[in-house]
Assembly symmetry: C2
Homo-oligomer: 195 residues x 2
């Protein structure tokens, strides 16, 4: 999606450790107009897939999921990280390994808010190794719900998560796919750019 790629080029920064810093518009300061457009694009892509609920994980996935849900007219369920008092004990859970932090953390969704009748669109800000997406997919499976697809704002195409999910037949759509990045240039994959 050109709008997102232009914003990444303009405001993103490449840091050591293959970190793409986009906290000026996507995950600390939020460019609300841009994120609303990303939500609209997720709707365009998945609108015929019978989505009944959007699932994401706190915290950075929430604005994107919320923006998309306004177009789908469905609720959002955001998975909580770690053991939250307010979630209660009756939860679906999965362990997500964080490659940047080198530790695993649990993600939790209350069983009340995901059922076998649901058709789930998973949305998140980043996909690299795919650990968070797979954690949410495991929760969808545990609930007996079906997966409509996975919508990602920025995929690190040089890491293996996206390819593996596509090879398994998951409808994975990333609005920008970074194929390579250095301190002073970012190369995007063309098929994502054509949106």
């Amino acid at each position: 999606m050109r709008l997102l790629e232009d914003k990444i080029r303009q405001c993103g920064a490449v840091l050591p450790g293959e970190i793409l810093k986009v906290d000026g518009f996507l995950n600390h300061r939020l460019d609300v107009g841009l994120i609303t457009e990303l939500g609209k694009e997720f709707y365009r892509v998945f609108r015929n897939d019978g989505v009944t609920v959007i699932v994401t994980v706190e915290a950075s996935g929430i604005p994107l999921a919320f923006a998309a849900a306004q177009f789908f007219n469905v609720p959002v369920v955001f998975a909580k990280k770690g053991a939250h008092k307010n979630v209660g004990n009756d939860c679906y859970s999965a362990d997500v390994y964080s490659y940047t932090k080198g530790v695993s953390y649990p993600v939790l969704v209350s069983k009340k808010y995901l059922t076998a009748d649901d058709r789930v669109l998973i949305i998140d800000d980043f996909l690299a190794n795919g650990a968070a997406a797979r954690g949410l997919m495991q929760i969808v499976k545990e609930a007996g719900a079906s997966l409509a697809g996975v919508g990602i704002a920025i995929e690190k195409g040089f890491q293996p998560g996206g390819r593996a999910l596509r090879e398994e037949g998951v409808k994975l759509v990333s609005l920008a796919i970074v194929d390579s990045m250095t301190d002073d240039s970012i190369t995007f994959r063309e098929d994502a750019a054509l949106r």
Copy 2:
């Protein structure tokens, strides 16, 4: 705000420890239509206060802040809890004491995203003792920015945070104020109900 009070009566639950559980629509599963209406109401209340940025804290404040920001046409900055790698070191920070958990945690905002020219609306889902709001107010002060006001979805009016802030002259608007609650009834303060 009647819409919110009706929803709390219909879907909320009072748990031991003065917990009002609203995770079915406000802070785990999100009723996107309702939250958009709450955002619109924050806009109605604060639209003439020169707001340039909405500040909240992850994770539950984000949907409300995002919804409001769509009407204000301003960015959101959400403070991060704890030491986040991606925030960088150049941050404003404040310690917030959690009465439910009995511990303090730091909240952080990158100095890049809050300046002395900003006029800040703080938005959050709950206000009880006011610790989170005061943490964000301290960050606003550190940045040299000015405070337009504080917008809260649900205030626990039987706890002291709201009264203290109002006595200090803060423009604090809570869309529903719970004056008392028991297992089977919730009493709302009338002035908040009249919205």
